[in-house]
Amino acid sequence: MAERTMVAALNAALRDALAADPRTLVFGEDVGRLGGVFRVTAGLQEGFGPERVFDTPIAEAGIVGAAVGLCLAGWRPVVELQFDGFSYPALDQVISHVAKYRYRTRGRVELPLVIRIPVGGGIKGKEHHGESPETYYVHTAGLKVVVPSTPSDAYLLLRAAIDDPDPVVFLEPKSRYWAKEDAELTTEGPGIGVARVVREGDDCTLVSYGAMVHRCLEAADLLAGEGTSCRVLDLRSLVPLDLEALADAARWTGRVVVVHEAPRTLGMGAEIAARVMEVAFDHLEAPVLRVTAPDTPYPPAALEDRWLPSVERIAAAARRAVGYG
């Protein structure tokens, strides 16, 4: 296995998808000549030409709306919205059309499209560059929502998303873009809808996705030193949610802590807490705890470390869960 960044893995996934299916298109703001502001699409326009990989005007609703039309013409568009905070102008197209088109047409028109969005904070970005928009997509019935946490998963899940006949919102944790990890680029392995236990443990389960998985692993290390053994569950996809894996973890450890960057109220942690209670109530020895950002806007760079879940906050919550009762 070679060391790769998530950016390189995503780039490889797009390249391989473009090569595998001549109906695949990649477009968005600055994805062509520049290769994307994060270089995820670097070299693709050179490789596949300006008809398959192209720049668009700054018009997010237009980009996503055009992707819908391209699906009707038999194409498979993979669009990039440049940043979390600039995905919102497309929400109407996503909610009113992308999510509903198959349903509205009684299943006759499929939208095999992928919307890639770099998300999350932790990179000392300006406002509107550190948002965690997953709730907006997860709540919208008709979408699948995927978040990789490693380069290997970035490759595998993006390939799976592009192959999926349903629309997929693919959220890329930008604070992990440049971290090098051992990575295999393969389409073999657990696909969309399957969570992964990234660390075994018995006392408490830390449930997370995207960038926060790594912080959970750090917290688990810390806690291991204190004699507390934590399972870490990487959800990988938020829709579909792997209920078996959640139930298993909750039943086994009896204590669950959910961690995410998005603000608390109706962040993904709410759904995890509710589901865990539904599927494993009798096994719970403590309430499901949520370690999240507070219910405030993303703060300026100087404060982001205080806002985002820290290893210490995660560990504190796990201690509370384990010590509960």
């Binding site: 005007p57 018009a59 039309g69 391209l70 699906c71 009707l72 194409w75 568009p77 349903d166 829709v239």
Partner: protein, 354 residues
Amino acid sequence: MDAGSNGETLRLIAPDGEPVGDVDALGLGEDELRELLRLMVLARRLDEECLALQRQGELTVYPPFRGQEAAQVGSASALGPEDFVFPSFRELAAALVRGVDPVAYLEYHRGTWHGGPYDPLAARFAPICVPVATQLPHAVGWALGAKLDRREACALAYFGEGSASEGDFHEACNLAGVWRLPVVFVCQNNGWAISVPAELQTAGEIWRRAEGYGFPGVRVDGNDVLAVHAATRAAVARARSGGGPTLIEAMTYRLGPHSTADDPSRYRDPAEVERFAALDPIERYRAFLLRTGAADEAFVELCAKEAEERVAEIRAAVVALPPPSPEELFRPTFARPPAALERQRAELLEGSDG
């Protein structure tokens, strides 16, 4: 033909039926000319029947298109089988022209299905689209796909003058312009957006916006079926041959209420309606055909009779439409549904949540 783009309103038939432009240049045979009347008469009769069906509780809210028959029939009839229509929500007449099954279409208004009750890909007629202007970027995307496929086909998108105030209108036009795509944007300016008159919607003229996107705009008399047809045909030809988009503003009038839920007496002067009723597109075209000898009274009567029969069939089929199965609450959502959704299905439909 170019009148429209100089700020004059393109017109080929005067309100009294007198030809005022070069109709022959259109090269339509008498059969083709007559067909336009047949379609308009059928469309109007169906529109009337829908209002009746709604009053009888057989349809939910229905948005009549009376007065806009020429705008829709004139434009849709200029398309070929390869072209693709992106309608808004008032385009039943255009759907008829395109051969969309009206019974399937009316599932939408009966409340047994959503905006895509027919097969949009087979009919080359996208789903009925209610969130105004959101269909315009779809047309652009489809046209981009056709261009990439080197197909000689174009997208035609309908929208109202009110919808043209939405951001999606702008983004779609700009994309179509900069990518020089085969799209014909057809604005039916029927004077009203629910209760808001066109002059409270914009201080500009909609057809003039095209220039800002780098493509031509034309204004046509939307109650003149031949003018609409001519403008659309020219736009379609340009689109198919790589000339890029055109914006057509068809000046027409919504003679009826916005929908059966609307009461226009609250906001518009009946005198205005009367004034426009006198400019009826069907009467104008009937007079033209009779005057030019392209049709006779017998044909006119035949149209009415055929429409009567066809609409009776449609009516019978609509009232017999079966309700959708509760399975349809779930099945169409995903091609590969999540397991959790299967569980919800069982819970809800098999009562297995007990």
